[in-house]
């Protein structure tokens, strides 16, 4: 089992490298920008996949967590602290190296929070919000859960849209690059394009490995049991409420990290990232990937986001995802890439005896 997973991770790494080499050979390196962005969206999707597919809880508000990550990070790394630099707390931050000072367009001094500090605060905020909202929300089921998460997403959207400090309809721009380590930075600069492709997909690989481990652990088994028969899981000693909440928080953290990194990569974030349509899109991708299928969600997340970002769907972008949702749910509610798809294919090529057994 574990060896199988190592092989999968290795194949993913190989695929990521192969895609980069392919863009190099075919001289389509400009694709790397969208490939990088779809990597960050894939982070949201794999987290959501575990929440929906394994824990069986729907969320129509995950764009809200993405936006919480992105906006917090954007706000903190662009907000000028110079006017309050004499305050004791700011001075303390400055001494601990959590502030960076840069020159603005007109040569003036601008003082703002270091992206690492902003990133940690953003993740922390997402965790706090997820715990606060998840506790009561996850007690609800079915329609109520769907509406409550939809409501949460709408609140985040309306707040970022209606708040001047968050740039209202324009969002926040001029977000600085995020220097992870000396020489390695999340940045939209052309010269760093290949590096950023690997940063994004490195994060995705890390995320997939962690979540895949989780799926195959005691916790993953307990989550599947909750999805299958919640009352029985509880009677077997599974603290169903806490498991659902923890999974919700982990998926929120994945979304927030995606938001933080994409914001630094793009150099800004706008309110459309918080919109309901984005949340629905994430759910659509998880659905087409096969709900309880981490790899299916990852592949679909990569393909559909890339096509969408390249503009292949034109003005039908949202309509495509709406149609996907309906078609998948009408005809194959288990998802297109079902877990046993591989065994289906194998049985197609297998001996007649295999087929007989299946029948």
């Amino acid at each position: 089992m574990a060896r199988n997973r190592h092989l999968q991770a290795f194949l993913l790494i190989a695929a990521v490298a192969a895609v980069q080499l392919a863009t190099m050979i075919s001289d389509t390196q400009h694709y790397l920008t969208q490939l990088t962005m779809s990597g960050y969206y894939s982070l949201v999707i794999i987290g959501l996949c575990l929440l929906i597919g394994y824990a069986g809880q729907i969320s129509l508000g995950h764009a809200g967590f993405f936006a919480i990550g992105g906006y917090t990070s954007a706000f903190l790394t662009t907000y000028d602290l110079t006017p309050v630099s004499d305050k004791a707390f700011i001075a303390f931050l400055s001494r601990t190296g959590m502030l960076v000072s840069t020159a603005d367009l007109y040569g003036g001094q601008v003082l703002h929070l270091h992206p690492w500090a902003a990133c940690l605060i953003a993740i922390l905020l997402a965790i706090i919000v997820a715990y606060a909202i998840g506790g009561p929300v996850l007690k609800l089921k079915g329609h109520y859960l769907a509406m409550a998460t939809l409501g949460f997403g709408t609140i985040v959207y309306k707040v970022v849209l209606g708040t001047e400090q968050f740039g209202a309809a324009d969002g926040i721009s001029e977000v600085p690059e995020f220097a992870l380590l000396p020489g390695i930075a999340v940045s939209g600069k052309l010269s760093m394009r290949i590096m950023n492709y690997y940063i994004a997909w490195g994060l995705v690989i890390l995320g997939v490995v962690l979540l895949s481990n989780l799926v195959h652990s005691r916790v993953g088994r307990a989550l599947r049991s909750i999805h299958g028969a919640e009352d029985a899981a509880n009677a077997m000693g599974v603290n169903t409420g806490r498991y659902k909440l923890n999974m919700f928080v982990i998926s929120a953290v994945f979304a927030a990290i995606g938001g933080v990194f994409l914001t630094h990569y793009n150099g800004g974030i706008g309110p459309s990232e918080a919109s309901i349509m984005k949340s629905v899109r994430y759910v659509a991708i998880v659905a087409i990937g096969g709900m309880a299928n981490l790899w299916g969600a990852l592949v679909m997340g990569f393909v559909l986001n890339f096509l969408s970002l390249r503009g292949y769907f034109g003005s039908y972008d949202d309509a495509v995802f709406g149609a996907i949702l309906i078609i998948i749910m009408l005809f194959t509610p288990e998802g297109l890439l079902r877990r046993d798809l591989f065994s289906d294919i194998r049985s197609l090529f297998g001996s007649g005896k295999d087929l007989e057994e299946k029948v």
Binding site: I58, P136, H143, T154, T163
Partner: protein, 296 residues
């Protein structure tokens, strides 16, 4: 507090509240016969308003509105027949996702037909500035149209469910679908009828309110969330309580402008939704035990 301003807010609150109540009743009609929450409910309101505006270009207003309502009802029936009728006991999660998909498709189609701009029917009587004055209080005649038409709709629906055969059959289905089927009622047709009815009332509401609030292709989602809030406040399935809850939410939202920026108006009503869901999912007017019986 200025008394004149107070009444302006009150009237605005009642107008919006009436529309929320109509959307909530639309939710209830479909919920009662199917157990489904139709996330595309707000789109019916938008479709009604948009179609009426288009038809009004070459038809007199009353006929344009009537035709728009009919067309929306047909669309409601088509949606049910195409996407829902042939599913065999689908799970709640599946139905939620399907109706959300429908709402997105309808919205995107509307965007391609009518564009992203706001549209409105003319005022039914008088103009935007004409007003009926009672003392210092000025009320636009359109507000009276909204309240009047909605009141007539609610009364007609009540008569329909109480005295007509299809109305009683629908109630039978909502009480016990299997028993209704054994009595020879075609439950599937009742579901279609419930979609037709809630599309119809949504469309009519969309027409009467459009001079005041305007319609836009993406106006449905916000209406759906608020309509759902009202439906929950009133206790899901209880349409008379939904009227009271609708007015309550409309007025609350209207007066919230006093304490918060207008941009956060929706935040208020959605926060109320979350609060109700967390604290008392059976609603203000519903009983707790009845709510527990409902399958979610």
């Amino acid at each position: 507090m200025n008394i004149e301003l107070f009444f302006q807010y009150l009237v605005a609150g009642v107008t919006y509240g009436t529309i929320y109540a109509i959307v909530a009743i639309g939710f209830n009609i479909i919920y009662n016969t199917t157990g489904i929450i139709n996330f595309a409910q707000g789109e019916f309101v938008m479709l009604g308003g948009m179609t009426a505006v288009t038809l009004h270009a070459f038809l007199p207003l009353p006929i344009a509105i009537l035709s728009a309502v009919m067309i929306t009802m047909v669309i409601g029936a088509l949606i049910e027949i195409t996407f829902i009728r042939w599913l065999i006991s689908p799970s709640v999660l599946r139905m939620i996702i399907i109706t959300i998909g429908i709402s997105i498709l309808v919205r995107e189609i509307a965007l391609h037909i009518w564009g992203a701009g706001v549209k409105a029917l003319p005022y039914f009587s008088g103009t935007a500035v004409s007003a009926i004055s009672i003392g210092d209080v000025h009320i636009s005649p359109q507000v009276l149209w909204v309240i009047g038409v909605s009141a007539v709709m609610v009364i007609c629906l009540n008569l329909f469910f109480t005295y007509t055969l299809p109305g009683r059959q629908m109630r039978a289905c909502s009480a016990n679908r299997d028993a209704a089927r054994l009595c020879g009622i075609n439950a599937k047709n009742m579901v279609t009828l419930s979609f037709v009815l809630s599309a119809g009332i949504g469309a009519l509401a969309g027409c009467v309110v459009s001079p005041i609030t305007y319609v836009q292709y993406d106006g449905g989602t916000a209406l759906a969330i608020k309509g759902f809030t009202v439906a929950i406040l009133g206790g899901l399935g209880n349409s008379m309580a939904a009227v009271a809850a609708g007015l309550l939410l409309g007025i609350l939202e209207s007066f919230s402008i006093w304490v918060m920026p207008t941009a956060y108006k929706d935040v208020i009503s959605i926060s109320i939704l979350l609060l109700i869901l967390f604290v008392r999912p059976s609603g203000l007017f519903g009983s707790k035990e009845a709510a527990q019986l409902k399958e979610f």
